[in-house]
C-alpha cells in the first residue's frame, strides 16, 4: 500500500512537471513568441495584425503581467478544463477536438499493446525454454532487425505491400467513412475492426522485440535459479515448472520495463497514425504541427503525458498484484 501511495505521489509530481513544461516552452524562445511563430511560417500564409494578436492571446503572452501571474492563470484555466481554442479547427475548443480523437488512440494502443505483450511474452518463454533450438537461433536477430525499423517506415511498407499491392486491408482512415456512420451499429464496429488491422499489426511488429528479447533473457537467468531446479527435482510437470516457477518470476522485470517503454510505444503509435490517417490523437498532433496550431499542440502533449502516467500507474498496480515482496514495502 505504501508503495502505491509513493507511486501516486510521484505521478502527481510528473504531472506538475508536464504542465509546467507546457507553460515554459513557448516562453523559452527568444523574442516575442507570436512573432517567432509567424517567422516560422515563412510567408506560407499572410498574417494580419488581428491574427497576430489572436496568436498572442492564444499563447497567453498578450499580457504584461509578471510571469508568476501568468502561470497562475494558466493553472487556473487548466483546472477548469480550459485548454484554449484550436486555430486549425476554429471555433472548436482544444478539449473538444482532443476528446473526439483520443478514444481512437486509446482503443488502438490498448489492443495492440495487449496482443503484443501476450504474443511476445509467450514466444520469449518458449524460446528460452528450448535453448539452442531453432527458435532461439533465428528469432533474436530477426526481431532485432524488425525492431530497429522506424515505426512509420514499417507502416509505409505494410501499407504499400498489404494494402496497396495485395489489397488485403484498407490503407487509410479509422473506419469506412463512405458507407458507415459512427455509432453503436454493427457495420460501423466491423469496419473499425477492419480498418484497425494494419495499424495494430504495425505497432505489434514494432514492439514485439521489446517483449520477446527481455523475456527470453530473463527466463534464461531465471531458469538457472535454484528454485527452478528444485521444482524439477520435485518431479513436477514441465508445464508447471515453466509457468508457475520460471515464467511467473521472469515476467516481473518485463512488467517494469513495460512502464518504461510505454513512452516509446506511444511515440511509435503516433507516427503510425499519421501514416494511416487514423483519426487518433497522433494525427491530431501532426495536423496541429502542420497548421501551427499551438494551443492544440500543447493540449495534445498534455493529454498524451497524462495518459502515459495513468498507464504507468496501472502497470504498477499489476506489478503489485504479481510480486508479493512489494506489498510489504520491500521492493
Amino acid at each position: 500500500m505504501r508503495y502505491l501511495l509513493r507511486r501516486i505521489g510521484f505521478y502527481l509530481i510528473a504531472l506538475w512537471a508536464s504542465v509546467t513544461m507546457n507553460f515554459i516552452i513557448p516562453r523559452l524562445m527568444p523574442g516575442d513568441p507570436a512573432e517567432a511563430m509567424i517567422a516560422k511560417m515563412q510567408g506560407q500564409q499572410t498574417v494580419t495584425a488581428y491574427q497576430l494578436q489572436a496568436l498572442r492571446v492564444e499563447l497567453g503572452v498578450n499580457t504584461t503581467d509578471p510571469l508568476p501571474v501568468q502561470y497562475w492563470d494558466y493553472l487556473n484555466n487548466l483546472a477548469h478544463g480550459n485548454l484554449g481554442l484550436s486555430s486549425v479547427n476554429f471555433p472548436h475548443t482544444v478539449v473538444s477536438v482532443i476528446g473526439e480523437h483520443l478514444p481512437w488512440t486509446i482503443g488502438l494502443m490498448a489492443v495492440a499493446v495487449t496482443l503484443s505483450f501476450i504474443v511476445g511474452t509467450l514466444v520469449g518463454i518458449v524460446t528460452a525454454w528450448r535453448r539452442g533450438g531453432v527458435l532461439d537461433s533465428t528469432l533474436p536477430p530477426v526481431l532485432t532487425f524488425i525492431s530497429a525499423i522506424p515505426y512509420f517506415w514499417m507502416a509505409l511498407a505494410l501499407v504499400y505491400t498489404l494494402g496497396f499491392l495485395l489489397n488485403w486491408f484498407p490503407i487509410s482512415d479509422g473506419y469506412d467513412i463512405y458507407n458507415t456512420s459512427p455509432g453503436f451499429n454493427l457495420p460501423f464496429l466491423l469496419s473499425v475492426l477492419r480498418y484497425g488491422c494494419l495499424p495494430v499489426i504495425t505497432i505489434m511488429l514494432g514492439s514485439l522485440a521489446g517483449w520477446v528479447l527481455p523475456m527470453r533473457n530473463t527466463m534464461v537467468t531465471t531458469l538457472s535459479e535454484d528454485y527452478v531446479l528444485m521444482a524439477q527435482a520435485k518431479g513436477l510437470s514441465e508445464r508447471r515448472v515453466m509457468i508457475s516457477y520460471a515464467a511467473r518470476n521472469a515476467v516481473l522485470p518485463s512488467v517494469t520495463s513495460f512502464s518504461m517503454s510505454l513512452a516509446l510505444i506511444v511515440g511509435g503509435s503516433l507516427l503510425t497514425e499519421t501514416v494511416f490517417n487514423y483519426p487518433g490523437i497522433g494525427l491530431t498532433l501532426f495536423s496541429a504541427v502542420e497548421g501551427h496550431d499551438y494551443g492544440l499542440i500543447q493540449g495534445c502533449f498534455l493529454v498524451i503525458a497524462v495518459t502515459v502516467l495513468v498507464a504507468n500507474f496501472l502497470s504498477d498496480l499489476l506489478y503489485t498484484a504479481l510480486d508479493p515482496r512489494v506489498r510489504q514495502g520491500r521492493s
Binding site: Y11, G132, S147, A148, F152, G210, V266, F301, I304
Partner: protein, 324 residues
C-alpha cells in the same frame, strides 16, 4: 525499442579474452554479433565520409529527369523535382549520422553526470536527481520532442555561421529527451560499485569525490557506458528521422528523414515510386539493427549464459545424458 541486459561488468567483458590480451580488436572479432553489428555501422559511416567520391551529383540540384526509376545514370532514380536520390542518400547519411551521434554523445555526458552523481552521493542529492530522472523517463519522449521542435525555429542558420539552426535545435531536443534511461541505468550500477572496497580505500586515502567518481568508478563502468551510448544512438537516430519526417527538421537540407518527409508530401508510396522512400528507411533500419547487434554482442560477452551456442562436441561413446 531497445532491449539490453543491464548487468554488465567491464571485468566480465575483458576477462573472456584473458589469454589473448585486452585488445579491443580481438574482442570485436570473437563475438559474431559484435562483428556483424560493427560492420553494418562502419559501412554507413564510410558511406557518409566518402559521399563526394561515391556520387558526382549535388543532392539539391534539380534537373529535368523527373521521377525516373533507377537507371545507370541515376542509380536510385530521381525525385519529383529531378534530384538524384542516391546523392541525397549518401549526403543525407552525413546529416543523419552527424546529428544522431552528436546528440548521443551529449546525452551520454548528461547520463554520466546525473547517473554517477546520484549513485555515488546518495541521500538528498540522489533523491532530487532521481526524481528529475524519473520524471523525464515517464514523459513521452517523442511528443515532447515534437512540442519543443515545433516551437523552435528550424530554418536558416545560427548567427552568421554555416551551421543550420535546424541541426542545433534537433540535437538539443534529442539530447533533452533521451538522457534519462541511461542515467538511471548508470545510477544503479554506481550504487552497487560504491560499496566495493576500492572505493572505501580511495576515500580513506583522501581522494576527492570528483576524483573518485571519474577516476575510480567510471573506468569500471565503461562497458555499461558504451552500451548505453549505443542504445542512445539508436533512439536518437530513430527520433531524429521521425521528427524530420514530420517536417520539424531543416527541410532544406537533405537527410534520410527529410527525404521521407518530401516523399510523403508528394504521396510517393501510393504512386509507386518506391526508390524514393525505401532506401532511406532501409538505411535507418540497417544501421539501427547494426547498433543493436553491437549491444547484444556486448551483453553476451558480459553474461555468457545468454549465448545460444550449443555445447562443444564430445566423443560419442562418452555421452551419457544426465540432464534434468
Amino acid at each position: 525499442m531497445q532491449v539490453t541486459n543491464n548487468e554488465i561488468s567491464t571485468e566480465a567483458v575483458f576477462s573472456q579474452e584473458k589469454g589473448r590480451g585486452n585488445n579491443i580488436l580481438v574482442l570485436l572479432v570473437s563475438n559474431k554479433k559484435l562483428l556483424i553489428g560493427s560492420c553494418m555501422v562502419a559501412f554507413f559511416i564510410l558511406m557518409a565520409i566518402f559521399a563526394p567520391v561515391l556520387t558526382h551529383y549535388n543532392p539539391s540540384n534539380f534537373s529535368n529527369d523527373l521521377s525516373f526509376p533507377p537507371s545507370a545514370k541515376h542509380w536510385l532514380g530521381t525525385t519529383t523535382k529531378g534530384e538524384d536520390v542516391f546523392a541525397q542518400l549518401v549526403y543525407g547519411a552525413r546529416v543523419s549520422l552527424l546529428i544522431g551521434f552528436v546528440s548521443a554523445i551529449g546525452s551520454s555526458l548528461l547520463q554520466i553526470l546525473f547517473g554517477l552523481s546520484a549513485g555515488y552521493f546518495g541521500g538528498a542529492i540522489d533523491d532530487v536527481l532521481s526524481l528529475i530522472m524519473n520524471v523525464f523517463l515517464v514523459l513521452p519522449g517523442l511528443p515532447l520532442a515534437i512540442v519543443l521542435s515545433s516551437f523552435a525555429p528550424t530554418q536558416g542558420f545560427v548567427a552568421s555561421s554555416t551551421i543550420p539552426t535546424g541541426f542545433i535545435v534537433l540535437t538539443l531536443v534529442l539530447l533533452f529527451t533521451t538522457w534519462s534511461y541511461g542515467a538511471r541505468v548508470l545510477r544503479a550500477q554506481t550504487m552497487s560499485l560504491r560499496e566495493r572496497e576500492f572505493v572505501t580505500a580511495a576515500k580513506a586515502s583522501g581522494e576527492t569525490s570528483f576524483r573518485i567518481i571519474f577516476a575510480e568508478i567510471l573506468p569500471n563502468e565503461i562497458a555499461l557506458v558504451v552500451s548505453n551510448f549505443v542504445t542512445t544512438t539508436v533512439y536518437t537516430i530513430l527520433a531524429e528521422v521521425a521528427l524530420e519526417y514530420l517536417g520539424l527538421g531543416d527541410t532544406a537540407v537533405s537527410s534520410w528523414g527529410v527525404m521521407l518527409y518530401w516523399a510523403q508530401l508528394n504521396q510517393v508510396f501510393l504512386g509507386g515510386q518506391w526508390w524514393w522512400f525505401v532506401p532511406p528507411g532501409l538505411c535507418v533500419a540497417i544501421i539501427c539493427a547494426g547498433l543493436t547487434f553491437i549491444n547484444f554482442g556486448i551483453d553476451e560477452l558480459a553474461n555468457p549464459r545468454l549465448r545460444s551456442d550449443k555445447m562443444p562436441k564430445i566423443k560419442k561413446q562418452k555421452k551419457e545424458g544426465a540432464v534434468a
